[in-house]
Structure formats: structure tokens, C-alpha cells
Amino acid sequence: MKEHHTHPILTDTHTFLTAERISVNYGQIAALQDVTLAIPANRVTVLIGPSGCGKSTTLRCLNALVKLDKGSITYEDMGIQDLNKTDLRRSMGYAIQSVGLMPHLSVEENVDLVPRLLGWPKSSRKERVEKLLSLVRLDPAIYSKKYPHELSGGEAQRIGFARALGADPPMLLMDEPFGAVDPLNRDQLQDEFIRIQRQLKKTVVFVTHDMGEAIRLADFLVIMKDGKIVQADTPEQILSHPADEFVERFLGPDRSLQRLTLFTADQWMEEAMSGSKEKAEETLGECSNQTYWQLDDQGRPIAGFARVGDTISRRLVSNASHWVQQYSSLKECVSKILNLGLPSAAVVDEEGRLCGEVRFETIQKISRD
């Protein structure tokens, strides 16, 4: 009988894995001191802190890449020291900043590695690879036969993520997986990660040093310093009640903006008015908190009309950089709203078709709460 213990903080889920008073020393240096941590099942736990705080070491303890000097880690009621290390690691996807794709293997062979190690039948493996490549939005027909040196940094990270998901492990360990890509690509990878995580609901442990990324992705946020946990709670709680001065400083001066990264556009999206250019004035009427969107024949926004005092102003929004995706953060919405000077931001689906808008009014309301 497997017992489920409710997670102490995220009460809507159970504890998947527990680290109890673990300590790790590297020679004379104490990398981890007496750390106790419960990883919630099917949620994203983010470990964050300045370099050398022990966040990566903690992660590497979970799949036995680092040996514990003290304490224990319990995984499904078994101590990981009692489990076979290779079996344990195969049951946890592992993605790292430097990706580490095998340069002599094609993309499909790389993604296939863990299923191959587990001895899955060939037919199901081929199917699995195609499914995973589609999941990370890389066309299998184009990418399967490519080699790692033919991929961009962002593409390599996606393959690394697909490979970690290879054998459909219940748990994923990710060590700064988006750390080495440029900011634009990083935002996109985060969007993708959120989309995939909502679909798959894995137990994820994610290490980063980027607070924006941490707040965006975390269900459970663990802030570390000098080999110890300073605060572990939901990002909302940490933002509104930082445990001490260190956490406060680490969160940075723009906490209200950081808070907006907790939400995605689709959570606060409202119905948008759209139609032909001629109807703009009539439809808008006296309404000044909404935008009237002019669409092209595929349903993509071309221009936005807004009432400013007595006049109607028009802004061109024909470029994808003017829109936000469903999984974009509200922080991004604010940035578009300020850039374009419209009362709301256009939310589009994967094909760029308008599916709603996020209003500045709504965002102000959230920030006030």
C-alpha cells in the first residue's frame, strides 16, 4: 500500500519525494547543511538562490548524482540509497543547461536514448519520438535526422527537454535548462514549458538563478542561501511575505511587476470586440477600457482602435511582436499595452488568430489585491 502524505504547503496535492536533513560536503566545504524539503507531486518546485547556495547540489542529490553525507531521501516510501542508481535515474528525466546531446547521434536517436536503455520495443519507440518532437514544436519530418551541431541553442534545449521526457518519467529534474539561451528564446521556452506542464502534470524540480523565471514557473518556490533553505512557500506567499531581508533583496525592487508573472494571459483573458474598420467607432461607443480589433481574413489582428477622450485613435498591430500568446505572462501584457498605448493587449492562438484580450483595468485590479 502506497501512503500519500498531503504536502505541508500545497495542500491540494501529496508529497512525492522527501529530503530529510540532508548534508553534503565537498572536501572542507559544506555544500548543503541539514536541508529538509518536501517535493509536491505533479507541481513545479523551483530552487533558487545565488551561485554556490546549494540549489544544484540539492537537485543532484535527488537522482543520486551526489552522495549524501548525512540525512536521507525518501521516494515512494523507499530510501533512494536502497534503490538501484541506474533504475532511479531512468525514472527521472534530466535536463541541464549545457544540454549534453550526444554529438554523434541524430536528434531522434538522442530523444530515444532512455526508452532504448529501458528496452522498449522499436515500434513504440519510433512513435514516441515523433510525439515528443511534436510536443516541443519541432517538426519530426525536418528534425528527426538532424545532428546536434545543426541546431540552434533554443532548438537544442527543446530536444534536451524532449529527451528528458523520453520514457514518460513521473519526475523531471531540470538544472537551469533555459540558462544559456537569449532572453527572447527564454520567454518562448518558458511559454512552451508552461503549456506542456499543464498538459502532462509532471513532478518537476527546476533550478534557476533568474527570479522572473522562478516566479513564473513555480508552484512551490524554495529560496536557498549558503547551503540552507531560507524560505519555501508558494510564490504568492513569498512575494507578499518575504521571510527576511535577504529574500526581500533577492526578489528585487519590482515585486509588483514580478507578481504579474504569476499569471498567464489566458487566465485573465476577456472577450474582445472585433470586426471591420468601418464599424470601429460605432462598436466602441463610449467604451474606453477596451480595444476594437480590426482583423485580416485569417482572423489575425491588423489594427487596434481605442477611444481617447472624444477621438478614436488607431494603432497598427500587424506584427506578431504586438500580440501575446495564451501562455504569456501578465507582465508581458503590460509591456505590450504600454508600448502600443491601447487599453488592452491582444491574445492570439498558435496561428496568430485573435482569441481575446487582457485589459489594463484587469491587471490594475489584480495588482491592488
Partner: protein
């Protein structure tokens, strides 16, 4: 798209050229090896004043056979031992010995092969055995050195991800590391082969046979035609070996 197709075409044409060159070299070797007329024709046109163009007791064919067997045997032994030792000293447990082994290996390399033969003579006696030992020791260096360099070239990220995804120690070696080190190792084996081909000529000094027999006779008789006769075959074997290794590296490239 266009670019990649072009590069495929050029590599295909170099492949055809390479195979043609190999066939030509083998043809030349066979003609020289099997036909005394061809030998006499070539050597007499270069050295018309020499009285003799063939060895008195052995045919070129016999000597070439002995030479090839000795070279291939020594190269294979060096390859197997070099790779095994190279793998051992790049593993976690063996890394401590790496510097020591490489130094020892470089030290052996400074021994002249003739000295090894003479030192081994009391133990292994007369014939091909001391020659094989000398060649083996002498040609271990390139294989071992390149194996170590090849494994050191595998990126830490690849090793980390191989371990993290749950490969056993053997799988980490065989799936993740060996294929990346292989081109370097193969280059080492090729160097070892070329080295052995030349050095095997000294086997004749202690009755080990090979093409050294005719070269040494030529030197003793001051007959340049005989010296050249052995040298031509050794050079052809070197060229052929070089081409075979290049083809091999092409077909084992993953």
C-alpha cells in the same frame, strides 16, 4: 539546402577518386610482387649497371608476406592494448595512473627498436618474436596517446547527461564516449601501422624475415637496386594502408 547537396556530391566524388587510387596502388603492388619481369624492368631502367635485381634465396612475394604479417600482428596487438589501457586510465578509478602510464609510454618510445631487439634476444631468441615485441612496444604510443586524447575530448556535458539519464558505466563508455573518441583512436592506429611498416625492416637483422632481408642484402652488396626493390614495396604498403584507413574512418563515421 543547395549547399548541403553540393557537399554531399563532392564527398561522393572524392570517395570514387579514393577507391580508384586504392585500386591503382594495389594493382602496382601486385604487379611488382608477382612478376620478376616487372621488377627487373623497373630496376634495370633505374640502375642499368647493377648485375642483380632479385634476392638470391627469397622472392619478393615471400618477403612481402612476412612483412605484412609482422606489421599487422604488431599493429593489432598495439591497437588492442592501447585502447584497453587508454580506456582504463580515463575511467574514474584509473585516472590517477594516467600521467604515470603516459610518461612510461613516452619513455618506451625513446628506446631505439634495434636496442629492444638486442635486449629481448636472450629471452625470446632468434627470429620474429623479439621483432614483434619491439614493434609492439614501439607502436603502442600513438594508439594509447590518441585514445586518451580522444576520451578527454568528450564534453563534460555529454558525460553528465549520460550519467544523469541512467546509463551504466559500460553504457556511458560504449554509447556516449567511445563513438566520439573513435576517429582519434583510428588515427592513432593508422600512425602505428605506418610506423610498424618502416620499423619492421629491422626484423631481418635477427632473422625475422620481411622486406628488411633484401634491403640489408642490398646494403651489404652495395646494390642500390635491391635496396630500392624492398623500399618500393614498403612505400606502396604505406600508401595502401593510408587509403584503407581513410576509407575505414569514412565508413565508421557516425
Amino acid at each position: 539546402m543547395k549547399l548541403s547537396r553540393k557537399s554531399v556530391e563532392t564527398s561522393d566524388t572524392t570517395l570514387t577518386k579514393r577507391i580508384l587510387l586504392l585500386a591503382l596502388l594495389i594493382g602496382l603492388l601486385l604487379a611488382f610482387m608477382f612478376s620478376v619481369q616487372v621488377q627487373t624492368l623497373i630496376l634495370s631502367s633505374l640502375f642499368p649497371s647493377e648485375g642483380r635485381y632479385t634476392h638470391s634465396r627469397k622472392t619478393i612475394l615471400e618477403m612481402t608476406g612476412e612483412h605484412i604479417v609482422l606489421t599487422l600482428l604488431a599493429t593489432s596487438l598495439a591497437a588492442v592494448a592501447g585502447i584497453l589501457i587508454g580506456v582504463a586510465v580515463t575511467r574514474k578509478g584509473g585516472q590517477a595512473f594516467q600521467v604515470l602510464i603516459l610518461r612510461l609510454n613516452a619513455f618506451i618510445q625513446t628506446f631505439p627498436p634495434s636496442a629492444v631487439i638486442i635486449l629481448a634476444y636472450p629471452v625470446l631468441g632468434f627470429g620474429w618474436k623479439p621483432a614483434l615485441l619491439a614493434l609492439f612496444l614501439y607502436s603502442l604510443f600513438p594508439v594509447l596517446g590518441n585514445t586518451v586524447v580522444g576520451f578527454q575530448g568528450v564534453s563534460p556535458a555529454v558525460k553528465e547527461s549520460a550519467r544523469g539519464m541512467g546509463m551504466t558505466a559500460f553504457q556511458q563508455l560504449w554509447i556516449a564516449e567511445f563513438p566520439q573518441a573513435w576517429p582519434m583512436i583510428l588515427t592513432g592506429i593508422r600512425h602505428s601501422y605506418i610506423l610498424n611498416l618502416g620499423t619492421a625492416a629491422i626484423a631481418a637483422v635477427i632473422g625475422g624475415g620481411g622486406l628488411g632481408t633484401i634491403i640489408i642484402s642490398g646494403l651489404a652488396l652495395r646494390n642500390s637496386a635491391l635496396v630500392l626493390s624492398g623500399t618500393i614495396v614498403i612505400s606502396l604498403l604505406a600508401f595502401i594502408g593510408e587509403q584503407v584507413f581513410l576509407l575505414l574512418s569514412r565508413f565508421t563515421r557516425t
